[in-house]
């Protein structure tokens, strides 16, 4: 038996929440079909959201889900250019062989599956030239920001390896956010469907907090206090470093895990800093937004 879920026309963070709610009741033997034919706009977060929802459906039902690609030529071309299909082929049962990725795309970072430290090296070492073009040349960041961005990318991808016990995906794209910000932004999305923050930190921290232990408490412990599941005092720096860098660049970072989301909220954004009671979903889903520098901002890195 198949369960057909319509993918919202605008495939972004909100659409991801809709998809999660839709696939919640999936159980053994029912196969998911994600119908993305009506999609008219896709963000990096939305694109990875399809993979995350598909992977979760696969794990839960034991059946590879199906996906109908977008009808719109422009969206289809964008999805191809983002190298979505090679990653999708590992999650979905595809009717046709995935199209060969186009050569050079305009994406800062195409969809990349992270399953080992070699993948993290490949991502970090490969992003430099495009990061230079986009962050420095287009968004006005000083040159050293390219290195800081690479470090941030490394840490956020390693989060998958160190804490998720599962595969994950990363991608990044530049946009013009006319309505919300009136500026160009770089949007970086990283997702996995692993154990999540609550599960990862449970052994070390749940005993201390007892019944108040929750996904929201785990996110606070990791994101605000740099706590980790390891007793090693050197652990837990990665997220702290990401947060500090994003704050320095007046950016936004949001991490969804389990049924909660935590965020660093800059003045230009209006999401809650901590939100619980969301539809539960495994793993961690990270969104980072880095806005173009403005003329009155100095060369600080």
């Amino acid at each position: 038996m198949s369960r057909v879920v319509q993918v919202p026309g605008t495939l972004d963070e909100t659409a991801f929440e809709t998809l999660i709610a839709e696939v919640r009741g999936l159980d053994d033997g029912s196969r998911l079909l994600l119908d993305a034919r009506g999609v008219s706009w896709v963000s990096p977060y939305g694109l990875l959201g399809l993979l995350a929802v598909g992977q979760e459906a696969r794990v839960r039902t034991g059946l590879a889900p199906l996906i109908e690609p977008p009808d719109d030529d422009e969206v289809r071309s964008y999805v191809d250019r983002m190298h979505f299909w090679p990653a999708a082929a590992e999650v979905f049962e595809l009717d046709a062989r995935p199209p060969k990725p186009h050569g050079e795309s305009d994406a800062l970072l195409e969809v990349t599956t992270i399953r080992s430290h070699e993948d993290v090296h490949r991502v970090v070492e490969g992003v430099r030239e495009k990061a230079q073009k986009i962050l420095h040349n287009r968004l006005g960041y000083p040159k050293p920001a390219v290195i800081h961005f690479s470090v941030m990318l490394s840490e956020v991808c390693q989060n998958i390896l160190e804490h998720a016990d599962s595969i994950g995906w990363v991608c990044a794209q530049r946009y013009h956010w006319r309505r919300r910000l009136g500026r160009d932004v770089v949007v970086l999305a990283v997702m996995d469907v692993g154990v999540g923050f609550e599960g990862s930190l449970a052994t070390e921290h749940a005993r201390r907090t007892g019944e108040s232990w929750s996904a929201a408490a785990a996110l606070e412990a990791a994101f605000l206090h740099g706590e980790s599941r390891f007793r090693d005092p050197g652990r837990g720096q990665g997220l702290q470093a990401i947060r500090s860098q994003v704050v320095r660049w007046d950016g936004a970072v949001r991490i969804r895990s389990g049924d909660a989301r935590i965020a660093h909220v800059p003045a230009w954004d209006d999401v809650p800093a901590l939100q619980g009671g969301l539809a539960p979903f495994p793993g961690a889903q990270v969104l980072i937004v880095l806005p173009a520098r403005q003329n009155d901002e100095d060369g600080e890195t």
Binding site: H117, V120, H121, V124, E125, R128, P144, I147, H148, S150, V151, S154, E155, Q158, L161, E162, P233, G234, R235, Q237, G238, A241
Partner: protein, 189 residues
């Protein structure tokens, strides 16, 4: 005490804990073969970037090793540090109350991490002089010698300087002396 010098030049991207562990394990194995005091010198001149996790695995854990080393003393000097290496390294060290001796890619001495100000001032002076006894150091710093002893004990315990009898030797000088021994034609002041 003249330590044996073990040099490691690093060329790759120092990212991920896995890479950091591999680098550190190689250095630890190199040091384990030296049955006397040893100075590990890590050159980061050709490292395009180091992330926070790798800085913890390589820098912080080697510093812990040098502080704990028994029976033979172990010292670590990081060289060729560029501006962009500093934040991850500083963060990894400060988080655990550690400090490391280093040299920038322009050859300037760098004391990275957490250290009490008197000890930090003593370290800088020892680096500038190369080697010095406590009385001469006290005069240079305009301090009483007995006030300096605690700071010097701290520097020695943290393997940030080498104590040779009554003389405190900087890691930079120890490295120069070892190089001079390898090339006997070079005179040292």
């Amino acid at each position: 005490m003249r330590p044996t010098v073990a040099r490691t030049e690093l060329y790759s991207y120092l990212v991920t804990r896995h890479t950091g562990r591999t680098v550190r394990t190689n250095i630890e194995e190199q040091l384990a073969r030296v049955e006397r005091a040893a100075l590990a010198v890590l050159d980061l001149r050709h490292v395009p970037l180091i992330d926070f996790s790798c800085a913890d695995e390589v820098v912080a854990k080697l510093v812990v090793l040098s502080v704990d080393a028994r029976p033979h003393r172990r010292f670590v000097l990081f060289r060729g540090l560029a501006e962009h290496h500093l934040e991850p390294i500083e963060s990894a060290l400060t988080r655990q109350g550690l400090a490391a001796a280093a040299e920038s890619d322009r050859g300037e001495p760098l004391l990275i991490g957490s250290l009490e100000p008197r000890a930090a001032a003593a370290w800088r002076e020892i680096w500038a002089l190369g080697h010095v006894d406590v009385d001469a150091l006290a005069e240079r710093l305009d301090e009483r010698a007995e006030h300096l002893l605690e700071a010097l004990d701290d520097l020695e315990a943290r393997a940030l300087v080498i104590r040779d009898g009554d003389i405190y030797v900087s890691l930079g000088r120890a490295l120069d002396d070892a190089a001079a021994e390898e090339e006997p034609g070079i005179d040292r002041p």
